[in-house]
Amino acid sequence: MPIKSATKPVSVNPLKVGQPLGGVLALQGMYRSMPLLHGAQGCSAFSKALLTRHFREPIAVQTSALQEMDVIFDADRNLEEALDHIWSKHHPDVIGVISTALTEVAGVDFQSRVKAFKRERALKDSLLFSISLPDFHGSLETGYSSTVESLMDAVLGLAGGKSPKKQRRTQVNLLPASYLTAGDVMEIKDIIASFGLEVITLPDISTSLSGHLLTGFSPLTRGGTPLDSACQMLESSCTIAIGASMERPARRLTHAAGIPYHLFTGLSGLAASDAFIHFLQKISREPAPVRFRWQRENLLDSMLDAHFYYSGASAVVALEPDHMLSTAAWLEEMGVELKRLITPCSTPALQKTEREVWIGDLDDAEESAQGVDLWISNSHGRKGAPRAGASFVPAGLPVYDELGAHTSVSVGYRGTMEWVNKVGNVLLTERGKGG
């Protein structure tokens, strides 16, 4: 299906965020890490504020704090200073230097600066890497997956490019996409573990942004994947990538260490959940735990209970690419007519889908949502949805006007059931009002 896009010269009520935000998010899932945005300080302040609002957790991020003259004369000096500062003060395990539109346009060669810093300081047991993420490409999802890819590279580099000594048959890698909530990642880990498999997740926001009291405040991330676990990924028997955007980082591991990967474009809906459980059964050579039999029946029963309210319903879905596709999948199972699917940027996965997809903003959503029952997007849709007469269900990022969005579960039988009920309740209430 062709990808379409609106023809406005200007973006009205954007759905898109900057790629560096995705990079900052990915690094929250690494233990004791610090993302460093190479740019002017506003970019990091906005990223921090946005993620803080969404996750209701402190967010680790720093900036090289470029000012006008630094950009013109010597952006490297600031970068060096920032690295110095972060290094000497906090000794993080991971520092990811992320460029912004400003440093990309200024054309500073920060990557070699980062390498030099690494050499000079002989940073051995920690990971310092850089990644180019200009805001004028892509969106959250691409920024996140590119960062995971670079992180993977850096981990491979740390492991010295050697093939692993041993392989553990029961150990698997999990690469979760950017749209998966902390609750989702926890649920997926749990499902995998229930087959007797050990799972190493990268990045793992389920232990850093799900909310825990632990040992108090730290400027670095608390929770997330420890660096030595990340290095052990090379010994795993396979990699499970969730979301098409995670295919490239997964492929890295295949190329470097010969670890096969399996891609699941989404884990929401009956079919997707079935495929996942079936797959786990095969690789673990263990029967599916009985609780999935129950969960599957619970889901089917909920779908039956809810189908009255979903019948004939139509929806506009405006989310990041992978998220949009997985949401579309379960909505289709519930018989919802997808009036329009909108996403902020094009990705290879979209080229392959059968569905018609629009690259656009929330204003396009508003236009196409006239007379539609349901509007699913991030919190920025809260005002547009009622103007279009649609019921609003927040999803994606940011969701700042609902508690627990970041820990809600939408994957597997249980997560799907949760969403079938949640959206079903909205339809039940709203469609009952007449019409």
Binding site: P9, Q41, F46, K48, R53, E81, T100, F136
Partner: protein, 453 residues
């Protein structure tokens, strides 16, 4: 600036000096916090509710920031729309002036706003786009004011952006329209952004005393009304030093006297109302303010009674990012709370001396350092709570320290007499919440358990 009292007479502003832009200290790479100048400019101008605000740059500047403030509008919602040219790589290589032209035309033809503000960002400033030229050409072409806001993020701090936005208001807008009618009791409020509807409280108080707001700059403001601000009798700068320059410029050009005040706490509220009344030069209004203040303070003190009892002697660390510190201190003191630590980053020398007037050497001054320093102060000074902006909220929660949000993102109004009561209630409810005890306890099964044989 509190007017100096000499010979028993109030000496109001003199318009002699525009507050010196003390060269902002360079932010420390790797330890910087706070927003950029673009952010500051937005904060100041976006509350003009009927205007369109177009951000010229790649997506991050608007995409990551819109709808993050709590300024409320009583009518038009256009300024809540996010407009951006969302530049792609091609635009940056080949230039984006054409795109800017088209974007402006699109917005004007579809939304017919009274004006469009066009914000420069780091990238479009770096590539040297002629944004002023485009705005000028389109203003003439369309007959709608298209106003360039030249405050890209990399020129400095948020405060600088606010100041630059003040210049924009002065140069392009104020004096451009005429009010239908004026009275001798017209006041402008400058730097009041109507967070959580605070301005509406103040407006009601002013009305009760026989005064009115001529131009709201800019909380719940309208573009045209900002244009006629030059016809006011007086300006009040609402605890925002960054916009003081605007008031000074208005005094010079239009002879409008100004004063700096706040609405946090009953004392400051009464003081501000008295000051306004004085500047209107109407004895009758002054008398009405006196009565109003006496009545409200009396009522408030009765209603506050039970809360005061519970707050008395409590210790707080206040970290508001500077501008509001001194006024909030007064409010807290009225509730019997002892401020044992206060953030002075971004405070000017005058702010600091005002803080010192109120708390002397009894408190720790926290010049910078954010979370880490705040925590240190909480521990060393045995504070019971932190009062700060949302940025530091989760830091406090992680340490299980009661927290009250005082900044832009909050949903409660704390201004005026009723505001102080709300603040008192909020503080008491926060401090006494059962959650603090619950989180402090271990699960019973985590404690040593004796197993039965």
């Amino acid at each position: 600036m509190e007017p100096a009292v000499s010979n028993g007479r109030l000496e109001v502003s003199c318009g002699k000096k525009i507050p010196k832009s003390t060269p902002c200290p360079r932010p420390v790479p790797g330890e910087a916090s706070g927003g950029c100048s673009f952010d500051g400019a937005q904060i100041t101008l976006i509350p003009i509710a009927d205007a369109a605000h177009l951000v010229h740059g790649p997506i991050a500047c608007l995409g990551n920031s819109w709808e993050s403030r709590g300024s409320l509008s009583s009518g038009p919602e256009l300024s809540a729309y996010g407009f951006t040219t969302d530049l792609g790589e091609q635009d940056i290589i080949f230039g984006s002036e054409q795109k800017l032209h088209e974007s402006i035309r699109y917005i004007v033809s579809r939304f017919a706003p009274p004006a469009v503000f066009v914000y420069t960002t780091c990238v479009t400033a770096l590539t040297g786009e002629d944004i002023e030229g485009v705005c000028k050409a389109e203003s003439e072409q369309l007959g709608t004011p298209i106003i360039p806001v030249n405050s890209p993020g990399f020129v400095g701090s948020k405060n600088l952006g606010t100041r630059l936005a003040g210049d924009v208001l002065f140069q392009h807008i104020i004096g451009s329209t005429e009010p239908e009618q004026t009275t001798s009791h017209d006041i402008n409020l400058i730097g009041e952004y109507n967070i959580a509807g605070e301005m509406w409280h103040i407006e009601r108080l002013m009305q009760q005393a026989g005064m009115s707001i001529l131009s709201r700059i800019t909380g719940d403001g309208r573009f045209r009304e900002v244009g006629w601000a030059h016809r006011a009798k007086a300006n009040m700068v609402v605890c925002s030093r960054a916009l003081l320059g605007l008031a000074v410029q208005m005094e010079r050009k239009y002879g409008i006297p100004y004063f700096e005040g706040s609405f946090y706490g009953a004392k400051e509220t009464s003081y501000s109302l008295r000051q306004m009344a004085y500047l209107t030069g109407d004895r009758d209004v002054e008398r009405r303010v006196d009565k109003l203040a006496a009545r409200e303070e009396m009522r408030l003190s009765l209603e506050l009674e039970p809360y005061r009892k519970q707050l008395k002697g409590k210790r707080a660390v206040l970290y508001t990012g500077g501008v509001k510190s001194w006024s909030v201190i007064t409010a807290l003191q009225e509730l019997g709370i002892k401020v044992v630590g206060v953030g002075t980053n971004k405070s000017t020398a005058e702010d600091v001396s005002r803080i010192a007037d109120r708390i002397g050497d009894d408190a720790e001054y926290i010049p910078e350092g954010g979370a880490r320093q705040i925590l240190k102060t909480v521990r060393s000074r045995k504070a019971d709570m932190v009062i700060a902006g949302g940025r530091n909220m989760y830091m406090a929660l992680k340490e299980q320290i009661p927290f009250v949000d005082i900044n832009q993102e909050r949903h409660k109004a704390y201004a005026g007499y009723d505001g102080l009561l709300s603040l008192a209630k909020q503080l008491v409810h926060t401090l006494q919440h059962p959650v603090w005890e619950l989180t402090a306890k271990l699960a019973p099964w985590e404690e040593e358990t004796e197993f039965a044989d």
